[in-house]
């Protein structure tokens, strides 16, 4: 069915990845449709971050195929040319656990720098986009502040705005609230919920089970480098089938 195929934003097929002798991804396959929100859960060391890093070109897979927005990033472990890879990079955004904002840039410049110097937008256009995003993140008054003067929650919202600025087709989040004090997580989760309502395509690695259940359409449970179980968010959380999933969820 070509129509549904066209609406697959991310397609990962049988991806393997080792660090030296340690096989971290042991054949991962997954699809994410446009507008879908997929939460990835699982114990630490299970390969969740590595999977995200492979999908966002920060790690090279050993074998398998990754297609983003219809462009083939890699096939049988061999990668597309640099030009296409650069194009693919403009199709996704990545939000890091520890933000990785540029400390020497103001909030505004963190958001607009890539728009102006990578996407060749005019400064006015970039400023408009920035203003709109800061309104959405409830950070308008922080446009000229520097990251070091913001709370962790505010910094993470800036980094979400930075990822959204280039209008990507999909955004990846790697434990976006894990570096935050509990009272600061709420603002970040609220922003992500808003994005879900707007039908933003998202893949979110998270340990916030109730958030995953509420916001995600689908949950993928990863452990030991494989996808152990996946299903609709509500079903997987309330009625897991695999023993490992049950054991993991019992801890929450």
């Amino acid at each position: 069915m070509p129509d549904t195929e066209k609406d697959i934003v991310l397609e990962i097929t049988d991806v393997h990845k080792s660090f030296g002798d340690l096989e971290v991804l042991k054949g991962i396959s997954a699809k994410v449709g446009r507008g879908e929100v997929v939460a990835v859960i699982g114990p630490s060391g299970g390969g969740k971050s590595t999977l995200l890093r492979c999908a966002t070109t920060l790690e090279r897979v050993d074998s398998g195929r990754i297609v983003i927005g219809g462009d083939v990033l890699c096939e049988n472990g061999s990668y597309c040319d640099k030009k296409l890879e650069k194009e693919i990079r403009s199709k996704f955004g990545l939000v890091f656990q520890n933000f990785n904002l540029f400390p020497h840039f103001s909030v505004k410049r963190n958001i607009t720098e890539a728009l102006i110097h990578v996407h060749k937008k005019s400064r006015e256009e970039a400023d408009d986009i920035c203003k709109h995003l800061l309104e959405k993140m409830d950070l308008v008054e922080k446009a000229d502040a520097y990251p070091c003067n913001l709370s962790g929650g505010q910094q993470q919202r800036v980094s979400i705005a930075r990822a959204l600025a280039t209008n990507p087709e999909i955004i990846f989040f790697d434990e976006p609230t894990s570096a935050l004090d509990p009272e600061l997580t709420k603002g970040v989760l609220t922003v992500i919920k808003e994005l879900a309502k707007e039908k933003m395509t998202m893949v979110i690695v998270t340990h916030e089970m109730s958030f995953a259940r509420d916001v995600a359409d689908r949950i993928v449970f990863m452990d030991g480098g494989v996808i152990v179980e996946e299903g609709s968010a509500y079903d997987l959380v309330t009625n897991p089938r695999q023993e490992r999933t049950k054991a993991f969820l019992a801890g929450y």
């Binding site: 070109t57 990079r89 990785n100 904002l101 540029f102 020497h104 890539a114 110097h117 990251p147």
Partner: protein, 223 residues
């Protein structure tokens, strides 16, 4: 009184060479230091070993010895006489001084820059990469400005040392301030010229420190 006046005149004549050595060394050794630090961090083992050796030797032997080697080396080792070379107002003594100082200070700067570059978190590179910045953009927009802030205190130390080290050019009879002071001291049989020279070096470093403090302050808007 007359002695003091003639001392001052001589020292000021020497001062322009002192300042010349200072500025030329800075202008050449900082970019060279960046290149050397790149070489030192090369993933190609042989390249990194060569630069490591370079740094180790230039930091591990006296600058005075390096000055003598650069000046006399070409003649005694290769039989090439460069003594008559003149580039604009600069004779070979002065040029050899600049070469030796540049090679020596580049080694120190290289290690400082390497420390600064390696202290940058991987996350800065990764954030820049996924945003689509090219390697050049990442280096010049994201990494270098932060490295400059981090290395400034150590670089300041070297710059202050350089002001004083210019006096080593005396060994090649470059007519910089210290050479002039020595000559005046022995002619007058007096330590006054040395004391005046000391005051000049200190004044120069006061200016250098003031400027560096300003620069440091201008970058203190973030941490």
């Amino acid at each position: 009184m007359q002695a003091l006046q003639s001392t001052l005149i001589q020292l000021v004549q020497g001062l322009k060479f002192t300042i010349g050595i200072f500025f030329f060394t800075l202008i050449f050794s900082i970019p060279l230091g960046l290149l050397v630090s790149k070489g030192r961090m090369s993933k190609i083992r042989i390249v990194s070993v060569i630069f490591q050796l370079y740094i180790s030797i230039l930091r591990g032997t006296p600058l005075m010895l390096q000055l003598l080697l650069v000046y006399f080396g070409p003649y005694y080792i290769f039989g090439v006489n460069l003594g008559s070379i003149q580039i604009g107002p600069f004779n070979y003594r002065f040029i050899a001084t600049i070469i030796a100082f540049t090679l020596n200070y580049a080694a120190y700067f290289a290690e400082i820059f390497r420390g600064g570059i390696q202290s940058m978190s991987k996350g800065q590179y990764e954030a820049a990469t996924v945003l689509g910045f090219s390697r050049m953009q990442t280096y010049f927009k994201i990494i270098l400005p932060q490295v400059v802030k981090r290395v400034l205190p150590s670089v300041s130390n070297e710059i202050i040392t350089l002001v004083k080290d210019t006096s080593l050019a005396q060994v090649l009879s470059v007519t910089e301030m210290f050479t002039k002071a020595s000559a005046a001291a022995s002619a007058q049989v007096s330590v006054i010229p040395f004391i005046v020279a000391g005051a000049f070096y200190y004044a120069m470093n006061l200016i250098v420190e003031t400027i560096l403090n300003r620069v440091e302050k201008s970058m203190s808007y973030y941490s």
